[in-house]
Symmetry: C2
Subunit: 163 residues, 2 copies
């Protein structure tokens, strides 16, 4: 049957081993080890992203949009692409945000099909508070040593550069 209670241990048979942190598994590439750990921390933190967004009375997606829209006006299709979702989804999303006075649709002059999204003044103000809040490190990061933080920062910079 299922025999779930000790997952990692029952999978001790041949073939590809479980990626979870079994010690002595030296065959795992370093990148996989590092990524798995990073992913774990990531997910632990993403669990309370909805709650964090709710502090600003935003849905998670809206928070994401507010954050992204600060870089400048964006066509709706570009936003859809950025969110990896269907364009039709963005329509309703923006409807609600516009109704709340956070964003504004304004027609492009080069191409009358597209509508550019810009943050309203209220939207910009909200975004600043949001970014400030998002930048607060969680306990697991804040408690790292200074050299670790320094190294982490530099590594992240290098990682992001290659995107």
């Amino acid at each position: 049957m299922w025999v779930m209670s000790s997952s990692s241990e029952d999978v001790e048979r041949r073939g590809r081993p479980q990626p979870s942190g079994a010690e002595g598994e030296q065959a795992e590439p370093l990148s996989k080890q590092a990524w798995t750990l990073l992913f774990e921390l990531m997910h632990a933190h993403m669990r309370n992203f909805p709650a964090l967004a709710a502090e600003f009375e935003l849905s998670p997606v809206q928070a994401h949009v507010v954050r992204q829209l600060g870089e400048g006006p964006l066509a709706m299709s570009t936003l859809a692409n950025y969110l990896s979702c269907d364009a039709s989804n963005v329509t309703g999303l923006v409807d609600r945000m516009e109704a709340r006075g956070l964003v504004e649709r304004r027609g492009s002059e080069q191409d009358r099909r597209v509508k550019m999204l810009v943050l309203t003044e209220a939207g910009v103000a909200l975004r600043e508070r949001l970014l400030e809040r998002l930048a607060e490190p969680p306990e697991s990061i804040a408690s790292l040593s200074e050299p670790d933080l320094c190294a982490l920062r530099d590594i992240m910079r290098r990682a992001l550069k290659s995107q």
Copy 2:
């Protein structure tokens, strides 16, 4: 306009309104710098989590549940708590997953109110494939140097230990 991918030395001292910080006012605290960058990478990656889950015909939440359920049987309320969502939400979620043969409700014997969730055999199999897929590092991580990866892994271990 603040662009966080800017170079390392422009740690602005007076750029934005000072956060209500326990830290002293100087440059942005190191933990904040590191966290902000980490957060950026995190979000860049979370964008395609839905697509990744879809590879297994799972919704993002279902993928999360499959992943979590591997640790052992879980009461529905515990899962609700873990997902930071209402218990009533879990009912429908589990309904759909049960209909797909991934999980099974089984009544607890200590307390006839609670129902324990366990992965079915198919659920376990799916979970293994999913974990394998999740462990594949994205390009930004895979392209890091070996010392960086090593340092990152060790730092993440220390960070996760403090949770």
